[in-house]
Amino acid sequence: MAEKVLMKGNEAIAEAAIKAGCRHYFGYPITPQTEIAAYMAKRMPKIGGTFLQAESEVSAINMVYGVAGAGFRVMTSSSSPGVSLKQEGISYIAGADLPALIVNVQRGGPGLGGIQPSQSDYFQATKGGGHGDYHLIVLAPASVQEMADLTIKAFDLADKYRMPTMLLADGTMGQMMEPVELPDTPPAEVEKPWAVRGTEGKRTHNIINSLYLDPELLEKTNFERFERYAEIEEKEAMSESFMMEDAEYCVVAFGIAARVAKNAVVAARKQGLKVGLIRPITLWPFPKKVLAEAADQVKGFLSVELSMGQMIEDIKLATACQKPVELCCRTGGMIPSPEQVLESIEKLAKENQ
């Protein structure tokens, strides 16, 4: 590993993508993720890569579709309103079974909303977003180091399962600086016999397509895709458990909300409250098993989110509503304070003794 440097989360994503072998970036500027595009604009020309600022987000995602079809590592990044614009293209990429990385550094919504951090695109990221039956693998970093590590992981998973992946961050994670260590290891070499790169007259041509006019064939394709999704749900769910060993109450939070929640958990422990934290790292697949196990152990859950309550539904599903699940949230670009989370923990404990 190289020496630790201070980097903004956005820059760490960009540098990690380059380390992962991504040489093609297409984007359109929007706060609070513009540093990714700026970094790529500076670096890509020097390493024989492509940086292209498209005329719109719709163009950018379709350029990603093209490069993904050619079998090269490719990415785009944006923030909430821009990611909404990309949804049609993301659905096509999923429908054509192509690997690509989409980064969403979320800001408050709906509409143009604001530019301050938010997690209110959880539903969009984890439940499809575009039309049709599909999923993205969604990774939620909670530190600048994870912004880098999960970017590399996202490329690897995308190639492994031939599907688009999303890094779901927020304005705070994008703008903050922390020490980060980037790996020196070369990117994974992946064979892509399906890619359209010219046949050289040696084989029949590959076709990249998401159009299936025969419903039986489309159904079969969707069934096959969902077999892959089932394997991903089985194998790839990731989460961090903090102080859960003897916990009687469980806080669930991801990304920046988990950072705030961790402070509150430590403060609650000092008061003698047995509280732990489960931090989903993959939002799809959601770490259902870990939560189901926690449901046998704890008296109640608290979902801490920068939205009006979206992940809370997945917690209820994963735990089959066996225990109460309460919500502690801020929205519109506001971030809960550790004190607010602590108050919610105290209330949960009082009401579920």
Binding site: K4, V5, L6, T31, P32, I115, Q116, G171, T172, Q175, M176, M177, E178, P179, I256, R259, V260, K262, N263, V266, I335, S337, P338
Partner: protein
């Protein structure tokens, strides 16, 4: 041991740069570090602030709402964050730009005419580093050694001529006695 630092002032005063210097110094002293800027539709002359946390343990929330150490580079910043500073904390004030005193009696207050000192020394853009020098002296948040190595990390190679001026500013603040 965790120290939460909030540096606040106008855009253009080098608030973010000063924070980055402290964060890098912390990193080089092998502390856990976070640096978070306010961001928004801000411009030169608007408000700017940044949260820096140095700790022996992994940093939880990177947002500093109750600073142990507040650097106020203008009056709106002092008005906004004086009450938020923790009891027993320290407030450093650029007394060239802030006419009033700290009203709290449960915090330590330091008054440094940093903007005037910077102007007099011919380094008008480095009042921020004068403030850092004094802050380091009084709080020991980081050590006052190897600052050149740290500055090399935060001053771009193209502006290497500014290294010495930054050191001059840091020393002026460090050696300033009210």
């Amino acid at each position: 041991m965790t120290t939460q630092l909030l540096i606040a002032g106008f855009g253009g005063q080098g608030v973010l740069f000063a924070g980055k210097f402290i964060a890098y110094k912390g990193l080089m002293e092998e502390k856990e570090v976070s640096w978070l800027p306010s961001y928004g539709p801000e411009m030169r002359g608007g408000t700017a602030n940044c949260s820096i946390i140095l700790s022996d343990e992994p940093v939880g929330s990177p947002i500093v709402s109750n600073p142990d150490v507040l650097i106020a580079m203008n009056l709106p910043s002092l008005d906004k964050y004086e009450d938020a500073t923790v009891s027993g904390g320290s407030i450093f004030i650029d007394s060239t730009l802030i006419g009033r005193k700290v009203e709290r009696t449960d915090v330590k207050a330091f008054y440094i005419p940093a903007t005037k000192m910077a102007n007099d020394a011919g380094i008008p853009t480095l009042a921020n580093m004068i403030m850092m020098g004094k802050m380091i002296k009084e709080t020991g948040m980081v050590r006052f050694d190897d600052v050149v190595d740290t500055l090399k990390k935060v001053v771009s190679a193209k502006r290497a001529n500014l290294l010495e001026l930054n050191i001059k500013a840091l020393e002026a603040g460090y050696n300033y006695n009210e």
